[in-house]
Symmetry: C2
Subunit: 344 residues, 2 copies
């Protein structure tokens, strides 16, 4: 098939560091090329791909700090104009850019599907609702339930996938500490992770970035608790450092405080044989199976009480679960099937 992938312009595809959407777009694009499809990737100019690359920026906009944010809109529009110019060359256009693309795509007389990678916030809900007839893909059943299930035309739920080959299973390493990995913020439950670890008397390693919006949370809630009491903050980490952190982690702590629509970090942990301690919010139950690949609790206290059950969880079961349900090849096959169905 002739397929266009439309990525967000914030980061390159794949991203240099952070960028879950851009990572998924990269895996999908490369996988489709390898399966013989003719793929064109619309993304930032420093993106690395075997597909044909169409771009209007040198690099991801978040790296172009000299560019006022007010102008991002122009680059989105220019990328969409390039897409429009070529629209008749594709059997299907796959939009990962978000609401920014919808009012444009509505006017294209060709097959289109949009994956919603982010929750639909109030300020942009009208834009989604205005495009309610376009086909959407949810990244989890929880995502769909939380984001206008009756109003939008969801045609499939397709979980994000990772390249599980890149994540070794660690069976010989000594599992020494609990791990919190992700953005340090109230939503992700960084403070709850510290409280759980301290209550259990187990060392906690925290890795991830602090966004400007979460600076106050970090300064007031987290910073006073690190360095002492067996809590260490290792800062932002690259891929190799991340694997090293997983390799010696007893479990990943995910006491999330909001209805997370998906969690790539959970899938990565499982692939390395690391079980998960998580609160039952959003898509958690779709990724983690209680007692088999982790412990799911209603409250922090649940997790503390049931912590010992972790020792009964098999690292191999965790990895097999990740491969079976969240491998990129799985994701690619599902999108391939969906494209075919939409083009019938």
């Amino acid at each position: 098939m002739r397929i266009a992938q439309l990525a967000p312009l914030a980061e390159s595809v794949p991203p240099h560091l952070y960028g879950g959407t851009e990572l998924v777009v990269s895996l999908l694009t490369e996988g489709l090329v390898e399966r013989g499809h003719e793929v064109t990737l619309f993304a930032s100019g420093d993106s690395v791909t075997q597909a044909e690359l169409v771009s209007v920026t040198k690099c991801g906009l978040r790296e172009q700090i000299s560019e006022p944010i007010r102008r991002w809109q122009a680059y989105d529009q220019r990328l969409l104009i390039e897409l429009e110019r070529r629209k008749n060359q594709f059997d299907i256009i796959h939009n990962h850019m978000g609401y920014q693309a919808l009012p444009f795509l509505r006017h294209f007389d060709c097959k289109i599907v949009s994956t919603n990678h982010n929750p639909i916030k109030k300020y942009c809900a009208d834009i989604y609702l205005h495009s309610r007839n376009l086909p959407f893909v949810a990244i989890s059943n929880a995502y769909k339930q939380l984001n206008y299930p009756d109003e939008l035309n969801y045609v499939a739920t397709i979980y994000n996938g990772i390249n599980t080959n890149l994540y070794p299973i660690y069976t010989d390493t000594t599992r020494e500490y609990l791990l919190f990995l992700g953005r340090l913020c109230e939503d992700k439950g960084t403070l709850a992770a510290i409280e759980i670890a301290q209550s259990l008397g187990i060392y906690l390693k925290i890795a991830g970035k602090v966004d400007e919006a979460d600076h106050r949370y970090f300064e007031e809630q987290i910073k006073p608790r690190i360095g002492t009491n067996n809590v260490q903050y290792v800062g932002e980490v690259n891929f190799d450092q991340k694997l090293d952190l997983y390799s010696k982690a007893i479990a990943l702590l995910a006491p999330v405080n909001f209805d997370e629509p998906f969690g790539l970090v959970l899938v990565e942990a499982l692939a390395t044989g690391t079980p998960i301690l998580a609160l039952d919010r959003g898509a958690i139950k779709e990724i983690v199976t209680d007692k088999e690949t982790g412990i799911i609790g209603k409250t922090k206290e649940d997790l503390i009480l049931r912590y010992q059950e972790i020792s009964r969880i098999s690292k191999h079961t965790c990895r097999e679960h990740a491969i079976k349900n969240f491998s990129h090849s799985n994701m690619i096959s599902q999108y391939e099937a969906l494209y075919k169905k939409l083009c019938l």
Copy 2:
């Protein structure tokens, strides 16, 4: 006629303080209503108008400082969705929003005209060129010459107008100082204004805001020269303060350092009987007539040498020139004629 006016969302219509485009949109909208047209204004929710108001924001986005700039795009799109919903109710849609609206308007099957209020910068030029078949209005001949005259479909040049009734002519006041009014920045030539006034030994008053982007210019070039040597900076001014400044000004200094496409401040000065000392850039010669309503020079030195000629310029000639060429009723009539022509 049934007319839609599409304003930018940065400021209310009319603006609370700054916002040349929003001021022009307001004068045009109210004038058209008063002439019996059925007008719908698409603008921020705190806009004040006799037309029907359609809005998606409580106030101008520049005032909603809690709203991340990244989201402005969503509000623009939502306003355009509201416009699209009603598009069949209008004989013509008049776009003042800029490039943001163009990719949407291209798909509307109705009469559209866009006034370009700002120079077309490189980052958004492709968006204009992609809409080259839409009719555009230039705000001066200089604007047109400087902004893709051969590529874009300019259907008219219509000067911005002001409500000259609001600007009294001051004939009895003692004219005491030279005046610089506008954004303090390199483009507008604030430093050159100081150098001219000091060379002539005449007191200079400077009024206007300092944008964040011009902070360094202000600190390094301007601040060391104010407070001493007969140079006073009075800060930002409201409408009444502005009139008071004009009333005692010998002349307005406009030693602009770029090809300004128009200059509302020049027209305001003329309406109060204040002549202009300006450098020959952009649309200056379309607004000021050398020796009749001001002195136009090629260099600062020209203006200093010819300064004495100012005394021969009649305040009444200045005002008559403003009324004849730059009154809002004139502007409204020209747009009215253009709408009719486009709807034939």
